[in-house]
Amino acid sequence: MPMPAEDIVRLIKEGIPGAEVEIQDLAGDGDHYAATVISPAFAGKSKVQQHQMVYGALGGRMGGVLHALKLTTMAQRP
């Protein structure tokens, strides 16, 4: 079930204020995305915790309406 990229970006930004989000529709089908999320809120957290924060912001959609979101998280730009 497709989900528009703008919705994903909006939810992540609402859940993690100040986050920068870059999103790519991998297959052009609105169902397979790659997102890079950059936020100082990730500092000092493990990758698992960082991804959990993003999944939390998506409020249960991940694994449901949102099938595939390849996630890269970082506290600051490399």
Binding site: H51, G63, G64, K70
Partner: protein, 113 residues
């Protein structure tokens, strides 16, 4: 909410298997690209692991998501610790972090075939 007995089963499996992958399909025949990617990484490192096919076990399929607080499959556990899903495992593999992690955990790595 999942039945507490499911969590009990999960804890038991995690306790019995040094390297455990909750996955879709089996290590020989993964049924999802993300699960296949983790199997591939573990094979490249020569890590022996046990795979649990959650597709044939709906109770476990829901239970593991709650247990790990992680919404997707695959999920990799090493010596009781949740390492992550496909993206984290792949990223750690590419940076060499995963190999170091296995060594630190005392998990045997064979030379890649």
């Amino acid at each position: 909410m999942s039945d507490p007995q499911v969590f009990e089963r999960i804890r038991d499996e995690i306790g019995r298997n040094e390297v455990l992958l909750f996955m879709k399909g089996t290590p020989v025949f993964p049924q999802c690209g993300f699960s296949a990617a983790v199997v591939d990484v573990l094979s490249q490192l020569g890590v022996k692991f046990h795979g649990i096919n959650i597709l044939v076990d709906p109770e476990l399929r829901e239970g593991i998501k709650e247990f790990s607080q992680w919404p997707t499959i695959p999920q990799l556990y090493v010596k009781g610790e949740f390492v992550g899903g496909c993206d984290i495992v792949r990223e750690m593999f590419e940076t060499g972090e995963l190999e170091t992690f296995f060594k630190e955990k005392g998990v045997a790595l064979a030379d890649a075939a």
